[in-house]
C-alpha cells in the first residue's frame, strides 16, 4: 500500500511527463488523490521539492533497474533498456529528461543538478554496456562507445516525443534499426 507521499510523487511524475513541469499544478493532484491542496504542501512545501523528489525517484528506479539485469548479456541489457522507452511511448508520455530539458531555465538549481546527475549516470551505464559488448564481439560499431551511446539514446529519446505528434506507434522499426546500427 503506497503512502500519500508516494502517491503524490507517482502522479507528479506522470503529470510532468504528460504536459510538463510548468503546466501542472497542485490542483491536478489534490482531486485525483482525494486529498486537499494543503496536504500536498505538507509533504512537499514547494513545487520544487516535489520536482526534486520526482527526479530522485527516477534515479533510484534506474539504479534498481540496472542492478536487476546485471546477469543478462549486453545485448539483452540494451534491449531491456529500450523496452523502458517502449512503455513510455505506449503511455503517450515522454521521458523525464525529455520533459524537463526544454524547460531547464525555468527550473531551480537543485532540480537541474539532480537532472544532470541522472543523465550522466544513464549515459555512463549505456556507454559501459556498449563498450563491454563490443569487446566481447557482440556489438560492432565505429567511433567511441560514448558517441554510440549518445546515438542510441537520442534515437529512442526523441522517438517518444515525435511519435506523440505524428501518432505513429511503430516502435519496432526504430528498435530494429538501433540494434542493426550496432551489429554491422
Amino acid at each position: 500500500m503506497a503512502t500519500t507521499k508516494e502517491k503524490i510523487v507517482t502522479l507528479g511524475d506522470k503529470l510532468i511527463r504528460d504536459k510538463g513541469y510548468n503546466a501542472f499544478s497542485y490542483y491536478d493532484i489534490a482531486p485525483a488523490l482525494k486529498v486537499n491542496n494543503a496536504a500536498i504542501h505538507y509533504h512537499f512545501p514547494t513545487k520544487t521539492d516535489l520536482g526534486e523528489a520526482v527526479v530522485d525517484c527516477h534515479s533510484e528506479k534506474f539504479t534498481a533497474f540496472t542492478q536487476s539485469i546485471t546477469a543478462q548479456s549486453e545485448i539483452e541489457q540494451l534491449k531491456s533498456f529500450l523496452e523502458l522507452f517502449h512503455r513510455i511511448s505506449d503511455d503517450n508520455r515522454v521521458c523525464l529528461v525529455g520533459a524537463l530539458a526544454p524547460e531547464l531555465p525555468s527550473l531551480n538549481k537543485s532540480m537541474r543538478q539532480k537532472l544532470t546527475t541522472f543523465v550522466k549516470t544513464t549515459l555512463d551505464w549505456l556507454t559501459a554496456i556498449l563498450e563491454r559488448g563490443r569487446k566481447k564481439g557482440d556489438f560492432n560499431f565505429s567511433g567511441t562507445a560514448r558517441t554510440r551511446a549518445l546515438m542510441v539514446i537520442t534515437n529512442i529519446f526523441a522517438w517518444v516525443q515525435i511519435s506523440r505528434i505524428t501518432g505513429e506507434k511503430d516502435f519496432q522499426a526504430i528498435k530494429t534499426a538501433i540494434l542493426n546500427d550496432i551489429s554491422r
Copy 2:
C-alpha cells in the same frame, strides 16, 4: 526594419525554445521590446494566437530553407539541415518541436495541428533526400528511407536537448556519426 508584430513572433519563438511555452509570459516580451503588455494583445489577442504564429513562422522558414538549397547534392542538403540544429545548440536552446512535444496536452487543438503538419513536412523532406541520395549511390543504409530519416532526425533533435543538460558541446562527433551511419 522588422515590425513590432514580427519582433514579437521572433522573441516569442526564442522564449518558447528557451524555457517552454507555458513558462514564458507577455511580461517577458513587453519590457524587452519596450512596448506595453496591451500592445502585444493587440497583435495577438490570446497567447495561443502567438503560439500559432510561431509555428507558422517555422513552417515558412523551413520551406524557404529547402527551396534555397535545391541545387545542392543530397549529401550537402543533409549537411545544411544538420547545421540548422548546430546553430540551435550553440544558442543553448532546443528546436521548436522538442520544446512543444512535451507540453502537447496543454496546447490547444489548432497549435497541435500546425505542429503536426510541420513535423510531417520535415520528415517527408528528409525522407525524400535520403531516398534520392541512396538511388544515386551517395547514401548507403538498410531499411526504409522513412525509418532512416527518423533515425537521423532523432539523433540531432535529442542531442540539442541532452547537450543542454550535460553541457557537452561537441556537435561534431554526432554529425560525423550520423553521416557515417548512412555511408556504409
